[in-house]
Subunit: 468 residues, 2 copies
Amino acid sequence: MNPSSIAVPLKVAVRDAAIAELKALLGDRLSTATAVREQHGKDESYHASVPPDAVAFARTTDEVCAIVKICARHKMPVIPYGTGTSLEGHIAALYGGLSLDMSQMNHVIEVNAADLDCRIEPGVTRKQLNEYLRDTGLFFPIDPGADASLGGMVATRASGTNAVRYGTMRDNVLALTVVLADGRVIRTAKRARKSSAGYDLTRLFVGSEGTLGVITEITLRLYGIPAAINSATYSFPTVADAVNMVIQAIQSEIPVARLELADDVQMDAINRYSKMNLPVLPTLWIEFHGTEASIAEQAKLIEEIALEHGGSDFRLVDTPEERKRLWQARHDAAYANKALRPGAHIWATDVCVPISRLAECIAETQKDIRESFLPAPIVGHVGDGNFHLTIVLHPDDPKEVAEGNRLNDRLVARALAMDGTCTGEHGIGYGKLDFLVAEHGEAVSVMRQIKKALDPDNIMNPGKIVRV
Amino acid sequence: MNPSSIAVPLKVAVRDAAIAELKALLGDRLSTATAVREQHGKDESYHASVPPDAVAFARTTDEVCAIVKICARHKMPVIPYGTGTSLEGHIAALYGGLSLDMSQMNHVIEVNAADLDCRIEPGVTRKQLNEYLRDTGLFFPIDPGADASLGGMVATRASGTNAVRYGTMRDNVLALTVVLADGRVIRTAKRARKSSAGYDLTRLFVGSEGTLGVITEITLRLYGIPAAINSATYSFPTVADAVNMVIQAIQSEIPVARLELADDVQMDAINRYSKMNLPVLPTLWIEFHGTEASIAEQAKLIEEIALEHGGSDFRLVDTPEERKRLWQARHDAAYANKALRPGAHIWATDVCVPISRLAECIAETQKDIRESFLPAPIVGHVGDGNFHLTIVLHPDDPKEVAEGNRLNDRLVARALAMDGTCTGEHGIGYGKLDFLVAEHGEAVSVMRQIKKALDPDNIMNPGKIVRV
């Protein structure tokens, strides 16, 4: 979407008065430098940069509270910022305002090993957390491609390759501390594993994309590092064969940890970018977690099912180094695609459908791609029914953007007709506002009521998720 | 809590006008008979009956919509009713109004076996659903003690004995159709396994106890019936030994399906009521789901850990009949306790704490019980940190009620101090309004804002969860 059609700058007097107060509070940690502002208005998508008026670097919940109160008094927008790796323009300052950079709030506050949980600040990234946990025997499984901040991952309800077994951010947040639009500070839950005490505010803020408040602390579930891990790749004659194999594996309740698909185009891009030598065929990337005995059993069951569906070229990866290299290549798929066309950007679509419709949804989408002039590899978390068409395009070429829109529109309409969603894990930002309405209908009016109740002046990341 | 101190009857003119319109709509399916009203004002707890003014038996979403619109026009409270098995006075008509009985909306609409999901009406009970699914190879795992309606289970965010492995209602609802206070009908989500499309309305309505709208359709996750199942009981010298064994099992990521605890008093009550002959010692009830090989491995690992913690008298139950009998006895624990004192009621407490604090929490609670004159067996979903003290008392004896309050107050305060919750799975109803405030503090103001935004006239189950 072209932000210029909706972006509205903040009134100069408002902006200057608010910035003066923020400067007094934060000193050097309030920046209005052009480079800093531009970097904070641009995520990893094709969406253009819409820079904020200023960028604040917060260090504590109290400080976030003071910042939000200043902005609330001036009705200046507040846009929480993690690592800038979102994909639907989540951080674009459509109405000007303050980008609230949380990267300095990056401390692991406590790890409760006996309870398999931890409390962290929102600027901690997923790799940083797992590095910190390394000696505890625990890990946090949710892994979007980028090394995103956990705060951003909460805000977009992120998932990644481990969701088949470990769920998404929805399932792995125990509690949040949130600063609301009026400066109230709440903690959404205690540290118990489950609770029936009132409305599920934790889940309300997970996926709220900064539109309801600023997340300043996160309590996460952790998991014991499996005693044994094996990864494998399997090639298939067609995507449909691979998907049908996945359906059967899921139905058989084989507790696979990861079940990822890449089509032949994607495999070629990965081979080039990550210097791999994998077959250029539709490929499933699988990982088994468990005891030695249980992963051997899982691998055997999966191999039987794969064979039934024409699987070939089984490659078992069982050293940690090889495994790390394999999954890094998978995580770098987006960058591999970007490298297909020098200077191009990526437009990562994100539909998710009931798994019984997945083969059909992908097949019809591949037909669209064959008829398009843009390259668009397919990669997906097929165990969840979620896949990405990564359209590689030049965002300043209107013809390419029009074609990107056409492909994405058709894909989303197809997914919704199959009772699927327009976004499995990227979120709405401002890129999918209309799709949200197409998907949810009247339910969007409820989202709008909640937004208005909690943020009547519309200062929290305005223009994202719902139009008010 | 004594409802007479808060119950306020509806004005007669309002009541009569609304009932006349409802009668015209529903005919025989609108009852004002005393016996029907009294039955609909009383759940399975010690809370006194507060009968509604009338009871409606709805058959379709459209009909619910018409009923709610009539009530909204007259500002007559609407109290959704499932099977009446709640435990905190959820269905008491504190402000008069209409009990909306959903038991005739009890159809399984569709089962999507390939997607492991189904769509049902809210009056379907958990046993009815599993009976329906029997020939599909699928099952729905969430099992509170009572044969509750799925609508009620959604509304209270219920769980039960399988939550260690399968999660709670929070984790197993894919989408809901809800009639809101103003008659709008929304569907909260599509049927995709995951989505980042906007606020998580599904999770907002799960656990909302009828205070935000009436649930009229539910899409649930299902699971393949495990290839192999084994159950076992293990006795321990002390509750602390049993709990410490559980902590170690959870930390070792052994994928046990059920991990239940009963103390010696509870075991004695179960033996009497269910004619069992189990050792009268702190006992863990365990169930393994998986393949033959994996459950054998799990059982072996569990046995090793149990031995380390003084476990004895291992009893493996491996025929379906024996297993059914064992778990029926576990599910009937509440009824077994009720039978300890003729004419008595049960007051089931419901705290849930981080598992590292569980042994300490139970030990301090047992000290309280030893010093009390009321019997109070302990049973718990210890894999989640959740346990129930079932206080057996005569609710019309003020001395006993005062003692019940004293024990429960101390228990909840203890759990909150340990970063736990006042309710793991029963909900707030009107019995725990003050505890909700103690637990959530400022966050309750956010719950109140949401309630007011979606139900400004406070007609949806008023007086439950939050005071407005």
